[in-house]
Subunit: 359 residues, 2 copies
């Protein structure tokens, strides 16, 4: 990191040493920046500093304060940081408009200039400092949500924070951000919970007919209800609009299914296909043609390694890999995702090495 | 396979040489059984027989006819097979009640005794004979749906078919089966399509905020709309009931989000968590305590193999593996799922081999 006008040199104070706060501390410490840690739970600070994420907060002015607390506490901590110091302040909360409005009602315009919201698109199904990693943000988008009064120097410094953590900064207005994540994150979470919730009514023996599809659809519904309630409540405005649209879609679908209106059902499903294509990357963004190859792999230690070693020898880069492994099954099916132009070669080469494959 | 009263000795006629029919042919040919193939498309028969799934159908009475055609054609093909021969007849369609009723209206009771429905829980996002594999059914549940008039010998023979294909036979009434898959397969598909469909309204730049969650939730929505429309239409009765419950859930959720009713939102999310636990296997059935370990892996051919080789050397069996690989990112995060009692050992051992890990 060269020294330039908006260099992040520290000290940085991290308020809240959970998964995100501790991971930011770890990433900044790798850059040699002085990181001060605070948390309502002393134990979390001890763990985070023990992991090397910084030292317990001292009474030293911070160049930057990073608020990394649960959604319900974000506005109060941003306000406290703006009032208590002259440093730049950012946060890493999942929702941006409501805390900005709450903070704006409580601080002066001059104080508000020092605040720029942020939201790194990284997480884990685990939480707390022990789940933290300096690599958590590597290559991930980090949404920056400056407001009209954010000072350019504040925007630059928070952008530098995202970069130092290895993330890719992308700028949105707070409202845009909240509408985007309502659609790409909060709505999927709620509908995954809806599908999963309906499973609780099923007789246990029906559940044996669960395949990979329902597992994938419901995976995120296992997330912490307390945390997700706060996110959803904070983004209620954007979500309410979207949920109304979903209810209208569902009413149309219900009517079409009930009446056997085949073309309406196909239209609904076609729209779903179009949506999967709209997701960048894995699901078929136009720039990336990928194909799947299935390989039968015995369920012993080392067999998967042998497969991947063979794929490596063959020289084909595996973009994604999924193991479809039902309990009690002696052979797992491994789905390898590779560039489409390489899949024929990979299949032939693996078959030549006695793997059983299919497309 | 020993010779016993209900041995499946063939010939077996497979009607419809798509993914399932061809895979059944391949599995039976491995057992040395004479398999005759037919399809409305001659080209499919040529491909399937070229792959070794059997020979083009001759005018020889079949011991068993397996109907493996799209949902809309299932009833007519079952009827035709029952009328044309004295063999046992089964099918592999995703829905069981409607075709049974349709067939029952068109054949005699004596003919109907020779029919037993089936539904192997196996598939692929690809279709057609080229996607087929003798291993497709290995260890998968294969639902058998005898009706009250099914002859015991017919039930035994179709059970034998499932076993010879490597599957695990499980018996349901046709109605039970249809209600089970409405919940575990068809509803998840429709709600995945609903979430995905809402993405088509998003400005393209919002989609950069898509994470792994929305990818997982929407993956199955990429399936063939024409095929799924037939499945959904055939299972309209069970699905209509379920979609009404979902609409009621959604109305309650919408009201709770709109009014900020936190405890109602938590209750909804808690129910989702309970549903994920109800899925056997990966998602935490009580018998299987698993944990995840994340490892940073450079995006080069062979690096993933090196990781798995190390895991194999360490002697820990990897139950599941997921690569979280965003485009343009130099380092992928690999999530290894292993037995919980092994995860500490795996983490220490991988760190000792210079891998960067986190939990």
């Amino acid at each position: 990191m060269g020294v330039h006008r908006n260099a992040l040199t520290g000290p940085v104070r991290v308020v809240g040493t959970g998964l995100l706060g501790t991971s930011i501390g770890l990433a900044l410490r790798q850059e040699g920046i002085d990181v001060q840690l605070s948390d309502v739970h002393d134990e979390n600070v001890r763990i985070a500093s023990g992991l090397g994420a910084g030292s317990p907060a001292r009474d030293v002015p911070a160049q930057l304060v990073v608020v990394a607390v649960p959604p319900d506490q974000v506005a109060a901590e941003i306000e406290a940081a703006l009032v208590a110091s002259d440093g730049i302040v950012t946060d890493v909360g999942s929702v941006k408009s409501l805390p900005l409005r709450q903070v704006g009602e409580r601080v002066s315009k001059a104080q508000l200039e020092r605040y720029v919201g942020g939201h790194p698109m990284a997480g884990s199904e685990r939480s707390g400092p022990l789940a933290a990693s300096a690599a958590l943000f590597d290559g991930r988008p980090w949404a920056l949500t400056p407001h009209p009064h954010s000072a350019p120097a504040a925007i630059d410094l928070v952008t530098e924070l995202a970069r130092l953590c290895g993330a890719l900064p992308v700028t949105f207005t707070p409202d845009e951000h909240d509408r985007a994540v309502a659609r790409t994150s909060h709505l999927p979470h709620l509908l995954a919970a809806l599908v999963a919730g309906r499973l609780t009514d099923a007789p246990a023996d029906h559940m044996v007919l669960s395949g990979q599809g329902v597992r994938d659809v419901t995976r995120i519904a296992a997330g912490d209800p307390g945390l997700w309630q706060q996110i959803i409540t904070a983004n209620a405005v954007a979500l309410t609009d979207l949920l109304r649209e979903v209810r209208d879609d569902l009413d149309l679908l219900l009517s079409a299914v009930h009446r056997g209106e085949r073309s309406a059902i196909v239209g609904f499903l076609d729209r779903g296909v179009a949506g999967t294509v709209a997701i960048p990357g894995k699901h078929g963004g136009p720039a990336q043609a990928i194909s799947a190859l299935f390989v039968a792999v015995p369920d012993h230690p080392g067999e998967l390694a042998r497969l991947l070693a063979d794929a490596g020898d063959i020289g084909v880069n595996v973009e994604d890999l999924r193991i479809d492994h039902d309990p009690g099954r002696p052979v797992g099916l491994v789905e390898l995702t590779v560039a489409s132009e390489r899949v024929d070669f990979l299949q032939e080469s693996l078959e030549a090495r006695s793997w059983t494959t299919h497309r």
